[in-house]
Amino acid sequence: MDKMTQLLKLLENTKSIEINDFRMDFDELELQLMPAVQQVVQQAVQTRKAASEVLPMEDFKPPIQEYPGKVAEVQLGKGSRKPVYLGGQQALYRFEEAQPNAPVVTFDVFDIPMPGLPRPIREHFSDVMDHPGEWAKKAVKEFGANMVTIHLIGTGPKVMDKTPREAANDIEEVLQAVDVPLVIGASGDPVKDPLVLEKAAEAAQGERCLLASANLDLDYQKVAQAAVNNDHAVLSWSITDVNMQKTLNRYLLKEGLTQNDIVMDPTTCALGYGIEFSIDIMTRTRLAALKGDKDLQMPMSSGTTNAWGSREAWMKKEEWGPTDYRGPIWEIFTGLTMMLNGVDIFMMLHPTSVKLLREIGETFVKDYMTTDLPDISDWITQLEG
């Protein structure tokens, strides 16, 4: 025991061994180190007559599981678009199997200037808000958007009541301006949306956009047909209800769409406004997919922009600090939480939020322990502040 202790002491003080050419020798020493420490410890314990029995120990084995199902892969963008792929996961976590496609962010762009957007966002886009094409271009060129969502808010009967034909013109403008895939959103009017999406889908024929959205409150058949006829995918939107999602997906599959043509939006409740409901729904949906439920194996989408509706994100209140920081952080937290529970595509507004979310998302496609990790062992003394 004394010899072992001496050896351990010696090792502690000879850090240079680590970078010598005697790598093999060091490995051997390292291997002996652990049992030695245990032995020392256990003997010490025995002399104190406490917990004297040697506890059994099994080898470390990473807890990797087998999954019978997999998430479908959906391609967005075709024709004159650079394609983006969503989903395709065969496991829940990276250490089991890295996911084939990194999470994707799509920037929100509107067909009208949207005076109601929070100031931290307007200040980035105020110069281009009159032209959806310019707006989209800025999102891609300056902020590296993978995709752009064009919301045809102006078609709302109570907004500007633009005609489906006018909406199609806006789509053409955005298609001309950028070469990333598009999500095409309507105004949220259950009667008019299918008509708007139909015309927009025709204008973007062959470009494989994501039509947003089909839901049980509107003529989802029309939306599905617009996708089938013009080679687009459909966003299948349910309201925090796994069974509702399943039902809607089944209906859409009956319309001729396949798993590879559907993206699910199980609804993102913002941080502080029911985010835990969304966590549960996303988790259950993804687990069901991996267990083999074919009606839930599509990639998932998050309307992360909902975060900006939270008063903590926009309301002026001195004791909460500046909204310039609160807004982006609220959007990051909302999106990140969804990402960690399986979401594949994020509709977002603020450049900072987009950047940080993507940085974390990009690690999802790398294998476990293949990154150079810094030495943090002395953080207690090294950390400033």
């Binding site: 420490v37 040697v54 807890p63 609220w330 476990y368 950390l383």
Partner: protein
């Protein structure tokens, strides 16, 4: 897997003595299975039986108490991987660091900020839980001085030094208050383990980026007879965040699904490490630190150490924690009844909403910030939101008519007009028929209510 009341009952003395305060051993067993009582209340149980039952009742992740008495925080205790399966127990402890090279005034200011950080939301006051003291100087005297000052703090402490002599010096000052010893490593395992035993304190095991080694060292500590361990597998940020996540998830999965004794402990994350060597501006650092914290909060961190103290950085963290640790089995409801806002008179308008906590507090926030003077009828929908209770049938003409009677609102105002949420429009006629009140359909979002009241009434 949760143990059943019957599993527990089998091991109880079955004397029905009533010492525990329950009518029978079966009733006691039921409460134990729901974690609503304490096994120690069972007086006739022999030590051997006690140990057996303790083991049976032990959660997948050990509960570890840091601090003592009214200055303590409990971490760990989880049983499941996903909150929808049961609930998560013991909200993640949020800790801010101080170090022993701060000027006295800086230290005082920092302690003051930490102790006064609070944020109220949905009727709950959210605060921090502990202070970490770093032996940045490496000097024992400086460490003792700072630790002595922190002894008077309202929060329990985490003592951070890898030097066992300095740790011992600090423990001589605050060792009787059960601080968390941070940290045992492969280099000081025996000495730190000994200190944890001598002072009966929990100890953190810091093994960055190597779960295999962590298992061995955790096993060594356990073999030493140490029970209260916290695992820090290393917080790597930037490109390393994926590995950090993987390690956290693996530890928790091994604890919950494999019942691997070496990993059945709370997990510690250090978002403050985001700032190590970072050259970014202060705002970016704070945003990134919060982002790292959000990542770990979502995936099993039981205790997190921050360096940033900006309220706008901490509000989202506090809010996310509140959401994650809300018990999904309990309806989130407020008391039904009549609420008043501002100065109400007999001319004041009468609004209707449901008793779903999120709905209620959102409406409440809007009425307050809009300085509205109004009555608000809150309907018992068993904690359901407006649209959900409409579909579920809790929000209907009769239930609203009953609420009007119960609250005696007809004797408080000189009119019979009510504004209902926009989403409740489908039952407006039904409410009119059953109550005899006139119903106006208000905005869909309550943020528009104060303006609506000014314009329409």
């Amino acid at each position: 897997m949760k143990v059943t009341a019957m599993d527990i009952y089998k091991l109880l003395p079955k004397t029905n003595c009533g010492d525990c305060g329950e009518a029978s051993c079966m009733a006691f067993a039921t409460k134990l299975s729901e974690k609503e009582t304490d096994l120690k209340l069972c007086t006739p149980l022999d030590p051997e039986g006690m140990e057996k039952l303790e083991k049976k009742l032990a959660p997948a992740v050990r509960e570890v108490t840091i601090g003592k008495g009214d200055k303590q925080v409990i971490i760990g205790g989880d049983e499941v991987l996903y909150r929808y399966e049961l609930t998560y127990y013991n909200p993640t402890a949020l800790v801010i660091d101080v170090h022993d090279e701060l000027e006295e005034s800086e230290l005082e200011e920092r302690i003051n900020i930490i102790e006064n950080t609070e944020f109220e939301r949905t009727g709950e006051l959210l605060t921090l839980d502990a202070i970490a003291v770093r032996n940045k100087s490496g000097d024992s005297q400086k460490f003792i001085k700072t630790v002595s000052r922190l002894k008077n703090s309202i929060y329990p402490l985490i003592l951070c030094t890898l030097d066992p002599d300095n740790m011992k010096a600090a423990l001589e000052v605050v060792g009787d208050e059960r601080p968390l010893i941070y940290a045992a490593t492969e280099n000081n395992l025996e000495e730190m383990g000994q200190l944890a035993q001598d002072y009966q304190c929990p100890v953190a095991l810091f093994v960055p980026g190597d779960l295999e080694k962590m298992k061995q060292l955790s096993h060594s500590l356990r073999s030493q007879g140490i029970k209260d361990i916290v695992l820090d597998p290393g917080t790597f940020v930037g490109d390393g965040i994926g590995d950090t996540l993987d390690n956290f998830v693996m530890i928790r999965r091994l604890a919950v699904e494999e019942k691997d004794e070496d990993f059945r402990f709370p997990i510690m994350g250090i978002p403050a490490l985001m700032r190590l060597g970072s050259k970014e501006d202060p705002v970016t650092k704070s945003i990134k630190e919060a982002t790292v914290a959000a990542t770990m909060l979502n995936k099993y961190a039981d205790i997190l150490v921050f360096n940033g103290t900006d309220i706008w950085e901490l509000i989202p963290v506090l809010t996310l924690r509140q959401g994650l640790f809300t018990d999904p089995r309990k309806p989130q409801a407020v008391d039904a009844g009549l609420y008043e806002f501002g100065e109400v008179t007999e001319d004041s308008p009468v609004l209707l909403t449901t008793n779903f906590a999120l709905t209620y507090y959102t409406v409440e926030g809007d009425l307050k910030s809009g300085k509205a003077n109004t009555y608000l009828l809150v309907l018992d929908t068993e904690g359901r939101a407006v649209d959900v209770s409409l579909a579920g049938g809790q929000l209907n003409g009769k239930s609203v008519a009953d609420l009007i009677k119960e609250t005696d609102i007809e004797n408080k105002v000189n009119h019979k007009k009510m504004v209902i949420p926009g989403l409740a429009a489908p039952v407006s006629g039904e409410i009119e028929d059953d109550s005899g009140w006139e119903v106006a359909v208000g905005p869909r979002d309550s943020s528009a209510v104060p303006d609506y009241l000014l314009e329409k009434l």
